[in-house]
Symmetry: C2
Subunit: 411 residues, 2 copies
């Protein structure tokens, strides 16, 4: 029995189903290992010692590569002094200052722990500012796993979702119609419009935000007096260090960040504009570990390193090399594929593969060939992916395409 299978058997006794959430290998596809023991740069090692070129980056958090020395030494130094104390350390101020410098939209920052904490806190601030209740969100967008936003209704109540009104991503008219549904005799009841910087819903080709859609949401929010919230938890720190919609020159009132902010260490943040500083002070939002200093030290080192090495450009280069390589391979093997999303947060689907039969087979074949990517969730590139690493990944994907052709034939 493999070590992974043995650990799964043990886990099944002491955790419901053995595993849960987005890292549950049972959801990923045949052959996916559940347990991992080591990360090193852009490589990960599973519990049975198999090594992968890691194109998932732990579902986003790893942006500089695993165990980046600048980040880990900052963490070690902070842990050696103190981490969870009766108040924050000076690092709290230093990190907040660095974020306000780095993010043009940001006049201030509030820290938390989960991406869900940040999206939830952003909505609280918007509601405190407006005295309104409703939130417009795109149908199918993932904004976290609290009862108000978790994709599964199990365990949630109708009341917990009663303040949401859905629109369609990249369809401005649908957002305006959603806003109209929250129009009452006292005016709009929309506190916030929350949107991801691009459409990155699972099981679907990704969509970049159309500039008119982004500008239109900004104008709509201004017109009805609602806060525009960008949920940059997944996109943040890969497209633009100033926030993902800097690429579109559209600035939200509130940004929610987490995942890649501290290269895997647990932290999240909301940044906001001056007008929301007062309302932000009226909410009560906190957690036992929100002011821990070590993850803040990790975040500061991560952001500084991303600046210093030109992290976004490195990820663009690596992502472009991967995209071009995959396109050439698919063409050579005779497959019609769609590659969508920013190259730093890519995804590949096979044309006409609604059942994911090809996608699942190909992803599992990539695993066998030492490349860890995903059949139905977007992938993530890090600044640690060199040309040689991408070329190593492309060796594996090429072999997987060959196996796919042997199994299904070319398109």
């Amino acid at each position: 029995m493999s070590t992974d299978a043995n650990l799964r058997d043990r886990a099944a006794k002491v955790v419901p189903g053995g595993m849960y959430g987005h890292l549950n290998a049972a959801l990923h596809g045949p052959g996916y290992p559940q347990f991992f023991v080591r990360g090193e740069g852009c490589r990960q090692f599973d519990a049975d010692g198999r090594q992968y070129v890691d194109l998932m980056c732990s579902w986003g958090p790893i942006v500089l590569g695993h165990r980046h020395p600048a980040v880990e030494s900052a963490v070690a130094a902070q842990l050696a002094a103190g981490d969870c104390l009766n108040g924050p350390g000076p690092i709290y101020v230093e990190l907040a200052e660095l974020m306000v410098e780095t993010i043009p939209q940001a006049d201030w920052v509030m820290f938390s722990k989960n991406g869900t904490d940040a999206t939830t806190q952003a909505l609280m601030i918007a509601r405190a500012a407006t005295g309104r209740t409703k939130v417009l969100m795109a149908h199918g967008s993932y904004h976290g796993a609290d009862p108000w936003c978790t994709p599964s209704p199990s365990g949630t109540t109708p009341n917990e979702r009663a303040d949401l009104i859905e629109f369609t991503y990249n369809d401005l008219a649908s957002a305006e119609a959603a806003a109209a549904r929250a129009e009452g005799p006292d005016g709009s009841d929309v506190a916030a419009i929350i949107v991801t910087p691009f459409k990155h819903d699972s099981f679907e080709d990704q969509q970049l935000a159309e500039p008119e859609f982004a500008r239109g949401l900004r104008a709509l929010a201004d017109r009805i007096g609602a806060a525009l919230v960008i949920d940059d938890v997944r996109g943040g720190w890969r497209l633009d260090l100033g926030g993902s919609w800097e690429t579109l020159a559209v600035r939200p009132d509130l940004y929610a960040f987490s995942k890649a902010m501290a290269n895997g260490h647990p932290i999240a943040a909301v940044t906001g504009v001056d007008a929301l500083r007062g309302p932000a002070q009226t909410i009560y939002s906190t957690g036992s570990f929100w002011f821990n200093a070590a993850p803040m030290a990790a975040a500061k080192a991560t952001i500084e390193t991303l600046h210093a090495v030109g992290g976004v450009a490195l990820m663009e280069r690596a992502g472009t090399r991967l995209r071009e390589g995959l396109a050439a391979q698919a063409a050579a093997h005779g497959f019609a594929i769609n590659q969508t999303g920013p190259v730093q947060i890519p995804w590949l689907s096979f044309e006409g593969d609604a059942t994911l039969e090809k996608g699942m087979f190909w992803s599992s074949a990539c695993l066998d060939e030492g490349v860890y990517l995903h059949p139905w969730h977007n992938w993530f590139i890090s600044a640690a992916h060199t040309d040689a690493d991408i070329d190593r990944a492309l060796q594996g994907t090429d072999a997987a395409f060959a196996r796919l052709r042997a199994k299904f034939g070319a398109d």
Copy 2:
């Protein structure tokens, strides 16, 4: 200008109000430092180098003393291999097994990050199990800072709290009346009763749970088919390693843990009974850092160390020594005080001090004398508090009583 004042000025520019949440020194009382730089055993050092005997333990998380070597070496070893990977490490299984062994109620565990994650997840599981919506909770109880439970209504909507029905702690008849209010034509709509193991509301004397109240809630939950949830986030790992209501021989269907579970490292957990294993598998609850291995290594080392050193007994001894010492000092100085709650999670109030005038003055005087405790929130003892440390704290509290008498006169 002190370093603390300088940091506060800088923070005020980049964080709304400079600080927020339970560690906001502006809420604590005159003279409370905001910034801390070092912890060592049961001592903390603020940004100006002042040293305190720490009777707050970072509001609970520090249960073995700051920077406990067994915990920190486990963290360092895990960080050196990998922390945030594409799946959990073997430590996930080892920690779950240890918790199931340690907690008689626990047939299984699910991990998360914040105490609020654990209480929220517990309610989701209860709702998934019952198909019901309502939750009974004690008026004034703190169960976290999500919109459904945060003590401030600012930024929350009526819908987000519409599924809660309140009762009075230690008043079983009020809980039965609350359950009756959720009685409909199809039977009870109560999914869960959530309760803290003792009443530890801010600004109030604490109350231990009366055994008949605890047993009565268990019977009520059984009668109406609801889950009994103990929110042991604050109490857990100090009263009984098997869960705080083991002291009363009452077992809930779900326990929520966090704070002291990993001696300051960020992790939370729900433990549950077999009957809820299936429903727990139906909810979708996850977070980017929930499966990080380093905090799990910290939790395993913390729980093992608490077992090995007899941590609960050490805290009882230290807490008893503190309580007896404070009682003698108050009597000697002529003050009538109330010392409430378990000795490991103590609080002191002055009789007739509804405005906290005496409590605030005395706590600030304790600070000056090198003792960090709190005027309106319960304190926390750790296993690192030796007799000598308690005696050092009592030197400070004695001087503070003398200053209180000089200011206000004896009662």
